[in-house]
Assembly symmetry: C2
Homo-oligomer: 206 residues x 2
């Protein structure tokens, strides 16, 4: 197909496709004339993937490149893969944050995690922020949130296929990245619903 | 206290405090000399709050200003408050995204939400991205994630105090903003743990 059809079927503007080509995220098409290239279904599927990561996943171009490299050439170890994928996602945490409360929690829950992984920094920073803001947590505290996360993830790992390494990689990576905005959006909507039920006094939302 | 003590106790650099003062996020101290001002405990508590929002919450200065305004002058209606707080958090969703799958889900779950609220756009966008990337969801699909979010929120609304409107506002707003990074960090750590258990073959994480 020509770039115009790729644009239409992928739902991505031609100028954006050209940007992805220049950045090397999308492999070049097959040249059929000096100024014309042909693209196939593999381009379309890669374009949809980039679009998904670039949009709600909110990843940087560098982060997307790291994720695509991992999908194209997955490391031998799937644990190494997950670690690299989480590093590609980055962390907003301050490097100097005190990790010990987060480490103690992880120990109490009995999780096996790398002692300096980026989500451990994120957890430590989030715990400090909640503490400093003086928010009252739910009964059971952070531990109860951890149990919820574990329950969710137990269902999610069931979806990772065992037969093909490349589809396992795809599922594990994209599951991490693309489910996050879904979870946050659902929690915010559930909060709206809870507020209507508590304070709405029978008025319909508008 | 002087700005140096405010800096030390708040864990924020003096240059950053001066930036917050210039932006009007932090009210000015009481001038005691031409170049010297005194700050009190209310400045310290506001500074810690700004720090919490600016850090892991990852909010823009404009977003922080909106949240502080809501805390200082909460609207009469708490539902209006929640809607305004969610709008301050913003949405990364494309305005043209098709809302109907998200609306249908919300209807099936029985949630009362504003028909054009920003998390509904986020949900719609996340559903499109997951679909386009071809990720296999957990058994029960998005509906199961929604039930999980509802369960979480049911526990969270219990923590919102009924006695003082201003503390209710604080709790509802900050609970929305600051719990999100906590949840995502915990899910990523639980994923690490699950990967170790499934593929680690007894090796300790390093």
């Amino acid at each position: 197909m020509r770039i115009s059809e790729l644009s239409r079927r992928g739902g991505v503007a031609i100028t954006t496709i050209k940007f992805y080509l220049r950045e090397g995220l999308l492999p070049p098409g097959e040249l059929t004339a000096a100024t014309q290239a042909q693209y196939d279904e593999s381009h379309l599927s890669r374009l949809r993937l980039i679009r998904a990561l670039h949009g709600p996943g909110g990843m940087s171009i560098a982060g997307i490149r790291e994720v695509l490299d991992l999908i194209d050439e997955p490391p031998d170890s799937r644990i190494q893969l997950l670690g690299q994928a989480q590093d590609a996602l980055g962390s907003s945490a301050d490097e100097t944050v005190d990790l010990s409360p987060a480490q103690q929690l992880v120990e109490r829950v009995g999780w096996m995690v790398a002692p300096d992984s980026s989500p451990l920094h994120d957890l430590a920073q989030a715990m400090v922020a909640i503490d400093e803001a003086g928010i009252k947590l739910i009964e059971g505290g952070v531990r109860r949130y951890a149990d919820w996360a574990a329950e969710l993830v137990a269902a999610e790992v069931e979806t990772v296929p065992e037969d093909s390494p490349s589809s396992a990689v795809r599922q594990a990576l994209l599951g991490t990245i693309l489910i996050e905005p879904l979870l946050l959006a659902l929690r915010r909507l559930a909060l709206q619903d809870a507020a209507w039920r508590r304070y709405g006094a029978g008025n319909a939302p508008s």
